[in-house]
C-alpha cells in the first residue's frame, strides 16, 4: 500500500514579490513519508526558489497551485508556522546572526514550539544538543559559536544539519548542503542524515544538489530534473547518473523559456 504524501506540490507558480518576474512555472512534486527525492537542474532553474517558497520566504509570491504538508495548506502560513508544522530548510546560503550562539538560537527555537507558559527543560536540551553534535561528529564547543558569523563555508553547512537534527522535521529540504563540504565532512553529514532517518523513518527529504556524489551516500527514491521553473523529468537514481554523463544541454534545448 502506498503511503499518503507528506508534501504535495501541485501546479505551483511563483514570482519575485518585488518585480513580479515569474520563476516557478507550474511545479508538481509529491513526496511520501520516509522518501528521499533529489532535485537537480542547471543554475538559475528555480531550485532554491522552490525550496524558499515551500519554507515561506516573503520575497516570493505564490501565484497559483498549492503546497500541502500532510494535507494542510502551507501557502497561507507564516514561515514560523510552517516550521512548527514540520518543515525545515537547510539554506544554500545560511544567514549570519552576530552575537547569537548556536546553542542559544536552538534553545529559543525549541522554546518557541512549546505552549505558552511551558518552559524548556535545560538539562533535556543539553542532552539533545550534545547527542546531535556527537552524531554529526562536532566538537561541543561549536555550539558556543555565533550563528554562521565567522563560520567557514563547510561549518555553515554543518550547522544547518545540526539544526535539522535538533529540530527533527517531518520534511527536510536540503538546498545544496553538499556544496562546500570536504570529502570527509560530506560523509559525516550524509551519515548524520541517514542516522536521523533511522531514528525517524517517516522523515522525508527533498535534496537539491548538482552532484551525484552525495547521492552515493544518501540514496534517493526519486530524482527530478528542474529546468526553467518546471520539473521536466522524474525517475529513479539512474536519472542522476545520466545527467552526470550528458549534462543539461538536451533539456535546456527542449524546455527553453
Amino acid at each position: 500500500m502506498r503511503k499518503s504524501p507528506i508534501l504535495a506540490v501541485r501546479g505551483l507558480r511563483a514570482s519575485v514579490a518585488e518585480t513580479g518576474v515569474e520563476i516557478l512555472r507550474g511545479v508538481d512534486l509529491e513526496i511520501r513519508a520516509g522518501e528521499i527525492h533529489a532535485i537537480m537542474g542547471p543554475n538559475g532553474s528555480g531550485k532554491s526558489t522552490l525550496a524558499k517558497v515551500i519554507a515561506g520566504h516573503p520575497g516570493y509570491e505564490a501565484d497559483g497551485g498549492h503546497v500541502r504538508l500532510r494535507g494542510e495548506d502551507l501557502l497561507g502560513l507564516e514561515p514560523d508556522e510552517r516550521a512548527q508544522a514540520g518543515v525545515f530548510m537547510a539554506f544554500q546560503y545560511p544567514v549570519e546572526i552576530p552575537g547569537v550562539s548556536i546553542a542559544n538560537f536552538l534553545r529559543s527555537a525549541l522554546q518557541a514550539r512549546l505552549e505558552d507558559g511551558e518552559e524548556l527543560d535545560l538539562f533535556d536540551f543539553q542532552d539533545l544538543l550534545s547527542g546531535c553534535m556527537e552524531l554529526l561528529g562536532m566538537d561541543p564547543s561549536f555550539a558556543q559559536r555565533a550563528v554562521n558569523d565567522g563560520l567557514s563555508g563547510g561549518e555553515k553547512k554543518r550547522n544547518e544539519i545540526l539544526q535539522m537534527a535538533v529540530l527533527k522535521p517531518a520534511l527536510a529540504v536540503m538546498d545544496e548542503t553538499d556544496s562546500g563540504l570536504d570529502i570527509d565532512a560530506l560523509k559525516v553529514v550524509a551519515a548524520g542524515v541517514n542516522a536521523l532517518r533511522e531514528e525517524n523513518p517517516e522523515m522525508s527529504v527533498l535534496l537539491i544538489t548538482h552532484y551525484q556524489r552525495i547521492l552515493d551516500h544518501i540514496q534517493p527514491d526519486m530524482v527530478h530534473v528542474m529546468v526553467n521553473g518546471r520539473i521536466v523529468e522524474s525517475g529513479g537514481p539512474e536519472v542522476a547518473l545520466e545527467l552526470e554523463a550528458q549534462g543539461y544541454e538536451e533539456y535546456k534545448r527542449t524546455h527553453a523559456a
Partner: protein
C-alpha cells in the same frame, strides 16, 4: 602629572566667583529656583557653610549659562524647569500610592517578573527591600576593609576632609549648565572611598543603599578609588523607573588614583516623559584603569557622555554604552576621552538601537593633547535600525595635537535584515522573537560585560519591546 596650566585649560578648576548674601531663608513650597530655595536645601541638610557657598555660586553660574543648543531638543525644558519643585516638599506630600502608578508601568513590572516588593520601590511607593540582610553583612565586610559606602549626605557629614578635597574637582559647577544646576540643588547619591590596595570582589550596588530613599532627581555621586584599589560600582536597573518628575540631572565624579581599577556600571530605564541630562566623568591617574558601562533605555531625551580624563602616564579609559531609543525617544549618548599624558589608551564602544520613531545619536569626543606621546584611542559605534522610521546619526569629534598619537574610528549602521528574520522564523521563531534575538545578538558584546541578573533583565526587556515592534 600634568601641569596646572593643562588642568586649567581643561576647565577642571573650580569656578572662582564670589557670591555673598545675608538675607534670611524663608521657605515657601513653590516651583522654580532661586537663592532662597538653595539655602533651604542646605539648611535642611544641615550643611557646612562652604557647601552653601558652593551651591549659591553654582546657582549663579546656572543662571548665567544659556540652554545648550546642541544635542537633543531642549525647547520645552525651560517650561518643565519652571514647574519643578527644587526643594522637595514634605515627605507626606510626596507619598504616592500604588494606585497612582500608571497601568502600563505596572504591567511592565509584572511581565518582567519583578517581585511585588521591588515593584513598589521602583515605582517609588514602597520603602522596604528584601536584601537588606544581605546588604548589612556586606557592609560589615566593607567597613572592616576601611571602605566607605554612604549616602552623599553622610559622606559630607562623616568625612568632611576627604569630601571637601575632592567634591567638585572632577566636574566643577562651571562645566556646563546642568552640572551647575546639580551643584546648586543636589540631593541624594553615593559617597564611596576605596582605600589603597583594597580589592572588592562583590560590586557595590547603589540599589542596596538607595532603596530607602527615592532615586534623587539631582543625585550627586563622588567616588574615590585610592592607589592600587579595585572595585566595581553598579547603579540602576533595567526595570522602568516611574517618577512623577520629568527631569533628572545627575553628576557623577570619580577619581581613580594611580594603579587603581574602577568600573562604574549603570543601566537606567526612565519613563518616557523624562529629560535625563547627566554629567559623569572620571579623572584617571598614572597607570590606572577606568571603565564606564552605560546603558540608557527609556526617557524622552537623554544626553549623557561618560568621560575619562587620562591625566597620568599609561592611564586607560574605556566606555561601553548601549542606547535604546523607542518610539518618540531620543538618546543622545556616547563618550569622551581626553588624553593628557603619554602612553594613555582608550576605547569607546557604542551600540544603539532605534525602534519606531526613535532616534539614537552617537556623540563622542576624542582629544589628544600635545605631549600625550603615543596615545592610542579607538572608537567603534554601531547602530541598528528596527523600522523604516527609525533614525540614527553620528557626531564624532576628534581633536589631535600630538603627532605620535593613533586614533581609530569606525561606525556602522545596519538594519534588521529580511533574510535574518526569515532565517530565524524558518526555525519556528515568530517575528518578534526573531527580532529580539537579533537585537540581543547585536548588543551581546556589551551585555556580556553586565552582571548576570542585569543581562537577563535586559534581554527580557528587549523581548518585551520587540513584541510591540511588529505590525
Amino acid at each position: 602629572m600634568p601641569t596646572n596650566e593643562v588642568i586649567h585649560g581643561l576647565g577642571l578648576d573650580d569656578y572662582k566667583f564670589g557670591f555673598v548674601t545675608d538675607s534670611e531663608p524663608v521657605f515657601r513650597a513653590r516651583p522654580g529656583l532661586d537663592a532662597d530655595i538653595v539655602r533651604q536645601i542646605a539648611a535642611r541638610k544641615n550643611e557646612p557653610e562652604w557647601m552653601l557657598e558652593r551651591r549659591l555660586k553654582a546657582l549663579a553660574i546656572y543662571e548665567s549659562k544659556p540652554m545648550p543648543k546642541w544635542g537633543g531638543d531642549l525647547s520645552e525644558l525651560e517650561e518643565t524647569l519652571a514647574q519643578t519643585y527644587f526643594y522637595a516638599k514634605p515627605h507626606e506630600q510626596m507619598e504616592r500610592s500604588w494606585e497612582d502608578v500608571p497601568e502600563n508601568i505596572k504591567l511592565t513590572f509584572e511581565r518582567l517578573g519583578i517581585p511585588e516588593a521591588e515593584r513598589k520601590i521602583l515605582a517609588g511607593v514602597g520603602a522596604q527591600y528584601d536584601s537588606e540582610m544581605v546588604y548589612h553583612s556586606l557592609k560589615e565586610e566593607w567597613e572592616a576593609k576601611g571602605v566607605i559606602f554612604d549616602s552623599i549626605e553622610d559622606g559630607l557629614r562623616n568625612h568632611p576632609e576627604l569630601f571637601r578635597r575632592h567634591f567638585g574637582t572632577v566636574i566643577p559647577a562651571a562645566d556646563n549648565k546642568f552640572a551647575a544646576l546639580n551643584s546648586a540643588v543636589w540631593s541624594g547619591g553615593s559617597f564611596v572611598y576605596i582605600p589603597p590596595g583594597v580589592h572588592l570582589e562583590t560590586p557595590l550596588q547603589a540599589y542596596f543603599r538607595v532603596n530607602q530613599e527615592r532615586l534623587g532627581q539631582f543625585e550627586r555621586t563622588l567616588i574615590i578609588a585610592d592607589e592600587g584599589s579595585r572595585a566595581h560600582y553598579i547603579e540602576g536597573c533595567t526595570a522602568p523607573v516611574y517618577s512623577t518628575d520629568s527631569f533628572h540631572s545627575g553628576v557623577i565624579e570619580i577619581v581613580v588614583n594611580p594603579g587603581a581599577y574602577f568600573r562604574y556600571t549603570t543601566i537606567q530605564n526612565w519613563s518616557n516623559n523624562m529629560y535625563n541630562l547627566v554629567t559623569q566623568r572620571a579623572l584617571v591617574h598614572e597607570g590606572a584603569h577606568m571603565e564606564w558601562l552605560d546603558g540608557n533605555l527609556g526617557s524622552k531625551l537623554t544626553m549623557k557622555y561618560p568621560s575619562c580624563y587620562l591625566m597620568g602616564e599609561g592611564a586607560h579609559g574605556e566606555i561601553l554604552s548601549i542606547a535604546y531609543a523607542g518610539d518618540g525617544q531620543h538618546q543622545d549618548t556616547g563618550g569622551k576621552v581626553i588624553h593628557v599624558a603619554p602612553r594613555t589608551t582608550s576605547s569607546i564602544v557604542s551600540k544603539s538601537i532605534s525602534k519606531g520613531t526613535g532616534r539614537a545619536s552617537y556623540r563622542g569626543l576624542c582629544k589628544v593633547y600635545d605631549g600625550a606621546a603615543r596615545a592610542r584611542s579607538n572608537v567603534e559605534c554601531d547602530a541598528l535600525l528596527i523600522n523604516e522610521t527609525s533614525r540614527t546619526d553620528t557626531f564624532p569629534y576628534i581633536e589631535i595635537d600630538e603627532r605620535s598619537a593613533t586614533v581609530g574610528h569606525e561606525a556602522t549602521v545596519s538594519k534588521v535584515g529580511d533574510e535574518q528574520l526569515f532565517y530565524l522564523m524558518s526555525r519556528g521563531l515568530d517575528e518578534a522573537e526573531a527580532m529580539a534575538l537579533i537585537v540581543r545578538g547585536f548588543i551581546e558584546p556589551i551585555a556580556k560585560e553586565l552582571p548576570l541578573e542585569y543581562a537577563v533583565e535586559l534581554n527580557r526587556l528587549i523581548d518585551l519591546e520587540m513584541e510591540g515592534s511588529v505590525g
